[in-house]
């Protein structure tokens, strides 16, 4: 998967580049609008991460030109402006998502993955499985090593999200938004408590702990490397 980053802030650009590369993407970084547009027209990127304030040509114009030329690859906007108008403008011009600076890298990565996953999902699986943990979407049942686990509706939703995106570090804000539809900065303690309770039900009594906290980033469900 190829990602084009157009960002004029050098440090931000380099860190984004490094982070996304380490997440397994091929990344190209440009620092101005004109070059960015040119590269996006020429290349075959799967996603463009576009800063709004750019020297030469701003992000809006780049996006407008791209769409005018019939280039339909997804675009994720980064901006320091937190105006509703901006958000609406970006989405009207055909942006796929929008992140306001300062954002956390885990949030960006989660969004990038969501966008890139879109349109690729073929047949929805009816069961999700990680190690010996099984989640049956149709019967809404969770078992671990054959043993039934009782979960509340929200706990089920939370586990489903983590299992669908196994191996990805999910930031708290994304979890709050996806599971509880809480789309604003809220008490982060809530997610911690919910995760702790889920962990008691899913991991307690098992050697292999699947639900892991990544300090400073969020949560991930995966089989730990050293076990």
């Amino acid at each position: 998967m190829k990602i084009l980053i157009v960002e004029d802030e050098r440090k931000t650009g380099e860190y984004l580049c490094m982070g996304l590369r380490e997440a397994g993407y091929a990344v190209e970084l440009l620092n101005n609008g004109v070059d960015g547009l040119h590269q996006a027209m020429e290349g075959d990127h799967d996603l463009v991460v576009l800063d709004v304030m750019l020297p030469g040509m701003d992000g809006w114009q780049v996006l407008k030109r791209l769409r005018a030329q019939g280039r339909e690859m997804p675009v994720l906007f980064l901006t320091a402006k937190d105006h509703v108008d901006d958000r609406v403008k970006g989405l009207e011009l055909g942006a796929d998502d929008y992140l306001v600076k300062p954002f956390s890298f885990s949030e960006l990565l989660a969004r990038v993955r969501t966008i890139l996953r879109r349109g690729r999902s073929g047949i929805e699986p009816t069961t999700l499985q990680v190690a010996d943990l099984e989640l049956d979407l149709l019967r809404r049942r969770v078992t671990r090593a054959g043993k039934r686990i009782d979960l509340t509706a929200k706990e089920f939703g939370l586990l489903e999200l983590l299992m669908r995106r196994k191996g990805e570090v999910l930031p708290r804000s994304l979890i709050a938004s996806q599971v509880w539809d809480v789309n604003f900065d809220s008490d982060t303690n809530v997610i911690e408590v919910a995760m702790r309770r889920l962990r008691v039900k899913v991991d307690d009594g098992f050697e292999c702990r699947l639900l892991q906290t990544v300090r400073g980033m969020g949560y991930v469900l995966e089989v730990p490397e050293h076990s």
Binding site: D82, V84, V100, P102, F103, S104, T152, K154, A176, W180, D181, V182, N183, F184, D185, S186, D187, T188, N189, V190, E192, V193, A194, R197, V214, R215, G216, M217
Partner: protein, 481 residues
């Protein structure tokens, strides 16, 4: 050009113009009336003489005798000219002038005629005299007697000239004087403006407490002074908020930034194992996230302070939002063995996301301060002209002095307490209040015998649609409560 003149000059100019026009009109009227009066006087005088001569004609049938009698009676009259003719034959004449031909055929009831003869200005009339039939009279019917008489009006002309000159001088002087008076009147009339200007000059960013003197200016300007005062009041409030805001930012950001810096520098000062680095970075990330959140909260507050327009307007069922938020906080509540309950129902119009955020902040606050194993009740009430949502929890009583300050940004009841990262930056309640103000409502808190009750008031949806309430107007709504 006239736009560039000062108000005083303009008023003086107009005042002078008006008085000049009035005085000039008055002068012309006086001159004209005098002129008409003289004509009347002369006419009466001439008619008197006509009657006198008629009497003499009647009494004296003898024409020769008549001439000498007329001469006696009229010679003493200076500036009176008479000619008595019959059929072109002069019976008596004072001589000295010739009468113009236009006089022939006129009668005594006609207006006197003015003409000039040499240096003389003359005004005269002419009429036929009736002649009594004298028995034994010589001739019988023949041509009638015709009398023409004229007055020298030189003295009138002199008088009129004098009068006109005097009038002109008077008008000019009076105009000048009234111009002067006008200037004085305009100046003293505009004095209040000067006072206001002087007051306005004293206003600077650091001296916004200056106010216009409402009592010292005339009624017409009191309103202007009042409006200016209201403007100054608003500016002062906003400016103070801005000052507080920047000092808040400086203060609240300084501590975490210096912590981060110290921690990072200490970590870099010697070699450490990867696990330690990981710990430090993770702790930095947590602290930085808190900072980022604080900054975005502050931006949100800064924007709402200017009376934002709601991004969306839709019908929001408060009890539904409350229930879905209870879902979110469920785990935390169970952890503390708290029961959560929603009572009542009510629908308001507003931005769903913002309303959820306002309720969420209150809930989070209630959960944090509730005693374990108690109940938190969300009461939704709907009246005709307002709806409200109240959250009641049992916890430590809050000092009455602190109550109104709870909604201030960065206000913490316990100043010394070190706050865990989930505690936010003390902006939650301030954000809740800002959201309520943006909706034209308000937020309030009461604390009695260990029961703390936060209430959100929403105005009725109709009222809300009509007026877009800015935060300042909303401020007065809350303070009335």
């Amino acid at each position: 050009m006239i736009q560039r003149l000062t108000l005083t000059a303009r008023l003086t100019f107009l005042y002078t113009l008006v008085s000049a026009a009035v005085l000039l009109g008055l002068g012309v009227l006086v001159a004209w009336s005098t002129h008409l009066h003289f004509i009347d006087l002369d006419r009466d005088h001439l008619l008197d003489k006509v009657h006198l001569i008629q009497e003499m004609v009647d009494e004296t049938p003898e024409r020769a005798e008549l001439a000498s009698k007329l001469g006696e009676a009229l010679n003493s009259h200076q500036g009176l000219f008479i000619s008595l003719t019959r059929g072109g034959e002069l019976l008596f004449g004072t001589g000295g002038i010739t009468f113009p031909a236009e006089l022939d055929g006129r009668s005594a009831s006609d207006q006197p005629l003015d003409w000039a003869a040499g240096k003389r200005q003359l005004r005269g009339m002419s009429t036929e005299l009736s002649e009594a039939q004298i028995p034994g009279g010589a001739t019988g019917p023949g041509p009638n007697l015709r009398l023409a008489l004229a007055l020298d009006t030189q003295h009138h002309t002199h008088f009129m000239q004098m009068l006109r000159q005097q009038l002109v001088v008077y008008v000019v002087l009076a105009t000048l004087l009234s111009g002067l008076l006008g200037w004085w009147a305009a100046r003293s009339g505009l004095n209040p403006l000067r006072t206001m200007k002087e007051h306005a000059l004293k206003v600077t960013a650091h001296k916004l407490d200056q106010r216009m003197p409402v009592d010292a200016v005339p009624v017409e300007m009191a309103e202007l002074a009042n409006s200016l005062n209201t403007m100054l009041e608003r500016l002062q409030q906003d400016f103070e908020k801005l000052m507080e805001f920047s000092s808040d930012i400086a203060h609240e950001l300084r501590t975490p930034i210096s912590n981060l810096l110290t921690q990072t520098q200490v970590s870099l000062s010697r070699h450490r194992d990867p696990e330690t680095y990981r710990d430090i970075l993770a702790s930095n990330a947590e602290e930085l996230q808190r900072l980022a959140r604080m900054v975005s909260d502050m931006l949100f507050l800064a924007k709402t302070d200017h009376g934002i327009q709601l991004p969306n307007r839709e019908e929001v069922a408060l009890e539904d939002e409350a229930r879905s938020l209870l879902d979110f906080y469920d785990a935390v509540a169970e952890d503390k063995e708290l029961r959560l309950r929603v009572v009542g129902a009510g629908t308001v119009v507003g931005d769903r996301l913002m309303i959820r955020r306002a309720i969420s902040n209150l809930l989070s606050n209630a959960l944090r301060h509730a005693h374990p194993r108690t109940e938190i009740v969300l009461t939704v009430e709907s009246q005709e002209d307002s709806s409200s949502l109240c959250i009641t929890n049992t916890g430590n009583p809050i000092n009455a002095i602190d109550l109104p300050r709870l909604f201030d940004r960065f206000f913490r009841v316990d100043k010394a307490r070190t706050h865990p990262s989930s505690d936010g930056a003390g902006l939650g309640l301030a954000i809740t209040k800002a959201i309520m103000l943006a909706h034209g409502g308000g937020a309030s808190v009461t604390s009695m015998s260990g029961e703390t009750r936060f209430c959100l008031q929403f105005p009725s949806s109709q009222k809300q649609r009509v007026s877009r309430v800015t935060s300042n107007q909303a401020q007065t709504i809350t303070s009335k409560e």
